[in-house]
Symmetry: C2
Subunit: 352 residues, 2 copies
């Protein structure tokens, strides 16, 4: 019997997941947050998702968040949590208000929760908060890996990683989601997948620096680009992802696999994190970029860096992270929180 | 005292290395092969390297290969071997004819030497062949990592890996080559660095497939690209590089570090291997590409695949490689040697 899914959060990624769900014959209920009102009205009227620029498959039911309980009903088999990182607290309250039984939750929210001397993975944070509020444990999984929503929304080949501390739960979701274009694989390395999912955005800023910097270099006889520099930064990003992941309890395979290098690769091809990097490469400070060319953009990698800066610095101070091995992380944190120009410390990369 | 280097092979990469050498005050002698006659004449006359489109620093002396012994003299401190993979045998004979003492050699030639049931690293092959011919052991190192010659030739930030089984030799070269734009690090993982240096070209063909394939897909409402597919292929490339490297005796760190993911990243941004992949994605066979749009191009990744196909298949047959873990390698080998269309086996990637 095909399943029923209720999606909370109708942004581009939550809504793109409608495609594999509908193609697998699921009953799909899409619930917008208070930010998604126009999206829900449009989907309800014509099926068109105005941010994806895609008409969603017929048969989707769209709801405003006030009707989340109604959407959930008693027959929802699982919930896809599609809110942005800033909406996680709100979503926990929303879930706690309506859940009467442990309906499994799968998250696509990327980010990490700052702790005094560490970082928490969102799925763990959500699970613990729900258990505290509800008195029972809700099964939780998450999706990582390289997935541009607009491509999934038109059924382009896409590979992801479904992670849960419960291997059977991850495998069950993977079986339910697989289509001829959507290919999830599974992992139990919660910290590894979540560190990569969050920090690939942060490090993509640095790789983007190289391409912006090119515009400020004197023109060369041979029209050379700046890909060698981008590759140094890409390599250092992978190296520091490895440091962070290991220190936080994740495994190396997540870093060199799809959640790490695969997702960093795609994140460096385009998007807001890269564009912030381009602007920093042109010589602007973070404040100048946010006051000017990107004043209306939420830049996930920058939001993450600002949210976790104090925790990471505390971990370095306590020796939980070796600061000599994180020169790019430190340069990015200084850029994002103290507005210093981003100036890659090339020689620290390979002597540290 | 500053050193004297003789470069054998005046192609773009051998010649680009002139920049850090000259900037470190070395005496540089550039020796062309029989293919480089026009380059050497131009460098001798005006300093202009016609393939790099860059005027080399003053003070370089240019020689035709007939004068290799004269160029080497008795004062050359080390030799940079800059021939293409097809020229390695020729270079060994050339070196054997003139070397009177163990002058250290550093190679930039990428490729692997096919053996009945394995693959040899070129630096090992060169060292063994020279010892056999000369009766003494010549110190050998090699350079891997992401380096586009045209960017190095105009002093763009560049990071590389100098590898030798002799750690002190690698460190000595790294100290001699470091400038404020050229940043070598060192490794003793000869097989890991050489497998990555060679096979990143081979796998970049597959990543390029995704972008060519896009042109054959029906246009989408939202102008979606095909980066998710490229990321699956990038991830699988890293995964199979890891399999090959481990089976051939290299270490994981070379694969997830600069020689592997760093170099694969830059190789996927542009170049002939990507262009072959683009054409395969459009639906052409390898033979059609070689007869048509790329008939005059040497495509390193394809040359490698054709050279090592029999060895890799023998290793799979003998159980030295697990063929279920190499679905992309097998698809590429079939495409390059049996002219089958390249059709990525998506589901084999994550069940293998």
């Amino acid at each position: 019997m095909s399943k029923t899914v209720t999606i909370l959060g109708a942004g581009v990624m939550g809504s793109a997941m409608v495609l594999p769900f509908a193609d697998r014959g699921m009953t799909v209920r899409l619930v917008g947050t208070h930010l998604d009102r126009a999206i829900i009205d449009s989907v309800a009227a014509t099926g068109l998702h105005p941010k994806l620029n895609v008409t969603l498959p017929k048969g989707i039911t769209a709801f405003h968040h006030e009707d989340f309980g109604k959407a959930l009903g008693t027959d929802t088999d699982f919930i896809l949590l599609g809110v942005a990182s800033a909406g996680v607290e709100w979503a926990i309250d929303k879930l706690a208000a309506v859940l009467k039984k442990p309906v499994p939750v799968i998250m696509i929210t990327k980010g990490m929760s700052p702790e005094p001397a560490g970082l928490g993975a969102f799925p763990d944070v959500v699970q613990a908060a729900l258990e505290k509020k509800l008195g029972f444990k809700v099964p939780v999984a998450a999706i990582g890996g390289p997935c541009i929503a607009g491509e999934l929304a038109v059924r382009r080949q896409t590979g992801t990683v479904i992670v849960s501390r419960d291997a059977a739960l991850a495998q069950s979701f993977a079986r339910d989601f697989e289509t001829d274009y959507y290919h999830p694989r599974t992992s139990t390395d919660m910290m590894g997948v979540e560190v990569c999912a969050a920090f690939k955005n942060f490090f993509a800023i640095a790789v983007g620096w190289a391409h912006g910097r090119l515009e400020n270099l004197p023109p060369s006889e041979n029209k050379a680009k700046n890909n060698n520099a981008a590759a140094i930064l890409f390599d250092q990003a992978v190296r520091e992802l490895m440091e962070l992941t290991r220190a936080l309890g994740g495994t190396a395979e997540s870093v060199w696999g799809m959640p790490g290098t695969g997702d960093l690769y795609v994140t460096c091809q385009a998007g807001r994190n890269s564009r912030l990097g381009n602007n920093l490469g042109r010589g602007l400070t973070y404040a100048e970029v946010k006051a000017g060319p990107m004043k209306d953009d939420t830049i996930e990698g920058a939001e993450l860096g600002r949210a976790v800066a104090a925790s990471l610095r505390a971990m370095m101070k306590a020796g939980l992270l070796v600061k000599e091995r994180l020169p790019l992380t430190r340069a990015l944190l200084d850029c994002l929180t103290e507005n210093t120009p981003l100036d890659p410390p090339w020689t620290a990369f390979h002597t540290g």
